[in-house]
Amino acid sequence: MNLSCPIEHHHGDTILQAHGGGGRLMAELIQSVFAEAFVGLGLQADADSAALDIAGPVAFTTDSFVVKPIFFPGGDIGRLAVFGTVNDLAMRGATPQAISLGLILEEGLPMAKLRRIIESIATAAREADVQIVTGDTKVVERGKCDGIYINTSGIGPLNHGSDIHPRSVRPGDALILSGDLGRHATAVMASREGIAFETNIESDLCSLAAPIAAVLASDVEVHCLRDLTRGGLASAANEIANSANCSLSLNAQAIPVTDAVRGASELLGLDPLYLANEGRFLAIVAPESADSAICELRNAGCEACLIGTVNESPRGIVTLTSELGATRVLDLLRGEQLPRIC
């Protein structure tokens, strides 16, 4: 006689396909994990979409997070998802108000890991003073999506009067960097198979909303802001030079890189100017505002410094003056930097 019980055994410690299926397991997941963690954060879980009250122009952004490893020194994919979204809004001069959270979970993901990530999202949202108003969960079969992928959208009112955009950049503008480069990339690389090393370095992951708000509230004339994520300072600078149809001139001596990041870069043959950051930005301000901008940012906790200027030409090109005083082009890379031995 073959006895098999038709009622599903509830494995409370692992994500199953059913958790994305729209049935009881998914409802339980939303209630017991998400709703509990997001208390006070404005989650409108009872409807298909969230209703918001925002008057006037808004900034709206979207981002996806696939970082590996999920947990890295200084953060995790959840914290990254919140701050990454908040920072994109801040770079436009907006006040981050609300984000959406789309989760793609791999079947077999331990529930404990998911809880840890959700707690981290909640903590980050409280730190950044942003609401999590709506979300979605899907589960894909084992072997897909490296445990978890996160997609977000973010929205916030554009309170600041001026147009913070590459089109506002002018020749003569000052380039201000908010801090040292490459910590996030170094922290993530440190545990990567094949190139791993020991380090105390943590990711520079943080919310940039507060320092940006401080500088925008002051008398500094801000023309453009850009956070430095994948591709590093070099890529962001190239994007702006291209959009603004001008030239960005950087001074290698002025760009801060901490010893550990240098050590990892030298060892693996990588250039810190292309390394990913998650808590650093470039501010392009009117030249007479440069000192003020540095002052405001330092008061807000950023180790800001002047690293170069905007020039009229060569248009669309970023140049770098080396430690020996020679000037050369700092190009966009085709793709990711790869470690080298040559």
């Binding site: 198979e193 050590g263 090109i317 020996l324 050369r328």
Partner: protein, 363 residues
């Protein structure tokens, strides 16, 4: 960082450059062998500090650039096998083979892993006993002892699932090939300081004597390179032609005997094809008979024939210093780092890529 930062000092660099300008009474042509030196020259703009008459030519010291097309194709063929994990230094992943490259086949599902050290590939082999691990063993004499050590340890540990796809090259035969060419323009060499850290400088004495060329064993930081150039200019002005060690903090005159001992235990010299240049006798290393079972081409029955290069690519001329990358009709147009026709446009060490990436701007 100690032993690094101080060799990048701007004021000292200018001092040495001024001394070079003061010393040179006529134009001279100097070749740096090593891709790492090319990289530093381009990155720091060292040519800009030199007087007009001192011309730097860039040599074939980029193992990525000179690895034969057939070997790249072999690596790709091996990577595509479902039973193989191909481990490689990052440098090789974008180098174009006949039809594709390792990065693309990785995207298509091949198990290609970047490693920092050949010992990491051994670790992969130990952790994956049911797969075949092939390590793409490229390099000059600097990398040969580490590659040899991995094979030596694989033999000791009886790691039968480890093998090496070998493409090792030697510097002195390449220098001879360059100097013996009718149109040789090189008047002095900056020898590769890390190669000489392993080999010592004895092999360069007969070359200096036979061809009457000064050879300065040179390091890789801006002050090292300028110091090497100063030494070459000094000798050229005095009519001398000898080997001088300007990298004594690392390279001893007799090199590293312990490293050479492992190299010679596992490898032996053989003829080698240099991509873009052709075959140079006794210019490469192959596994000795006792270690032949670790040869990936033998293990997997690949015969590694020669494959022709795209006609427009003049890599060979560039690698031997007979012309600059900018003289190539495809440079910067049909041949760029995004769509390279030949190897020197792929690796940052390659002269073509270095010229493209670090190009000067008329300001």
């Amino acid at each position: 960082m100690k032993y690094l930062d101080e060799y990048r000092d701007c004021e000292t660099a200018k001092k040495i450059a001024a001394k070079i300008a003061e010393s040179a009474t006529q134009p001279w042509t100097i070749m740096e062998i090593c891709g790492g030196q090319t990289h530093a020259i381009m990155r720091y703009g060292i040519q800009d500090l030199l007087p007009d008459g001192i011309e730097l030519l860039h040599g074939p010291g980029c193992p990525v650039c000179v690895t034969p097309l057939g070997k790249i194709d072999a690596a790709i063929a091996l990577a595509r096998r479902p039973d193989v994990i191909l481990c490689s230094f990052g440098d090789m992943l974008r180098v174009p083979g006949s039809a594709t490259d390792l990065l693309t086949v990785r995207a298509q599902g091949a198990d290609v892993r970047i490693v920092y050290s050949p010992l990491d590939a051994l670790t992969v082999a130990a952790e994956n006993p049911d797969r075949q691990i092939v390590f793409f063993a490229i390099g000059f004499e600097t990398t040969a002892p580490p590659n040899a050590m991995a094979i030596f340890q694989a033999a000791r540990q009886n790691l039968t699932n480890y093998s090496a796809l070998v493409s090792q090259v030697l510097v002195p035969p390449a220098i001879e090939a360059i100097l013996s060419h009718d149109e040789a323009r090189v008047q002095a060499f900056l020898a590769a300081g890390h190669v000489c850290t392993i080999t010592g400088s004895a092999e360069y004495l007969p070359i200096a004597a036979r061809y009457h060329v000064p050879i300065a064993v040179t390091g890789f930081e801006p002050l090292d390179i300028l110091d090497g150039i100063l030494e070459c200019v000094r000798q050229l002005e005095a009519g001398e032609a000898t080997v001088r060690n300007c990298y004594a903090r690392s390279a001893r005159d007799d090199g590293n005997p312990t490293a050479r001992s492992i190299l010679e235990t596992v490898f032996e010299p053989a003829a080698q094809t240099w991509r873009g240049i052709g075959e140079i006798p006794q210019s490469g290393l192959v596994l000795r008979a006792e270690y032949a079972q670790f040869d990936a081409e033998q293990r997997f029955g690949l015969n590694g024939g020669t494959v022709p290069e795209p006609a427009e690519c003049i890599a060979g001329e560039v690698l031997q210093g007979r012309c600059k990358p900018t003289a190539c009709t495809a440079f910067g147009t049909r041949c760029t780092p995004d769509s390279p026709l030949g190897a020197p446009m792929v690796s940052d060490e390659g002269a073509c890529a270095a010229y493209y990436r670090f190009r000067r701007v008329a300001l």
